[in-house]
């Protein structure tokens, strides 16, 4: 399987706290992407980090990438109840995308 793995599988935090999710993958990549999925909906792209980048920021999101360890992390700062969703990492190589198993985040108001 070319799927990656994410941990933790589930995470529950209080509003205002930071949430960190980790992704490990197996293949070479052009870039790595993070997606969000609200219950019953399609996935929505959050952020993309290229293979030659180590860190990237977008609003309250911070992504890191370590290609030597084949791992990435997503940090959501100052979480809000509206951040409650599932989060997936996806590796991208030559227009093929493989997803991790996802982290279910619950932010408690």
């Amino acid at each position: 399987s070319q799927q990656g793995e994410e941990d933790p599988q589930a995470l529950s935090i209080q509003e205002g706290e930071n949430a960190t999710m980790n992704c490990s993958y197996k293949t070479s990549i052009n870039n790595l992407q993070w997606y969000r999925q609200n219950s019953g909906r399609g996935l929505v792209h959050l952020i993309l980090i290229r293979s030659n980048e180590r860190e990237k920021h977008s609003g309250r999101l911070r992504v890191t990438l370590d290609t030597s360890k084949k791992s990435s992390s997503l940090l959501i700062t100052a979480s809000r109840a509206a951040d409650t969703a599932s989060y997936f990492c996806a590796t991208a190589l030559y227009n093929q995308f493989y997803f991790g198993t996802g982290t279910s985040l619950t932010v408690i108001p």
Partner: protein, 115 residues
């Protein structure tokens, strides 16, 4: 929002019947994908297309076929549905970003139940 429409959104069928799911895009993107999503497995790639009449298998392609006769339409067919194909199916599209792999845009999903 990217213009991606999946149909039908919900379908219940019986084992052994053929099923076709349709994905329609209005973005003129070159790449189109079919994924299935199951608890504990995340999203798994079934088939993808890199142009009209150009398709290739993903990691879980057994029991599925696809066709792309026009840029905007990508069809997923289950020739003889089985209960193991009960799942939520997502279509996604992608362009390129400066010549490199871009991001995916997803449809809202098609929930298929095979009895």
């Amino acid at each position: 929002d990217a213009g991606i429409t999946q149909s039908p959104r919900h379908k219940v069928t019986e084992t052994g019947t053929p099923v076709t799911l349709r994905c329609h895009q209005t973005e003129n993107h070159r790449y189109m994908y079919w994924y299935r999503q199951d608890p504990g497995h995340g999203l798994r790639l079934i088939h993808y297309s890199y142009g009209v009449k150009d398709t290739d298998k993903g990691e879980v392609s057994d029991g599925y076929s696809v066709s792309r006769s026009k840029t905007e339409d990508f069809l997923l067919t289950l020739e003889s549905a089985t209960s193991s194909q009960t799942s939520v199916y997502f279509c996604a599209i992608s362009g390129t970003m400066g010549g490199s792999t871009g991001e995916l845009f997803f449809g809202e999903g098609s929930r298929l139940t095979v009895l």
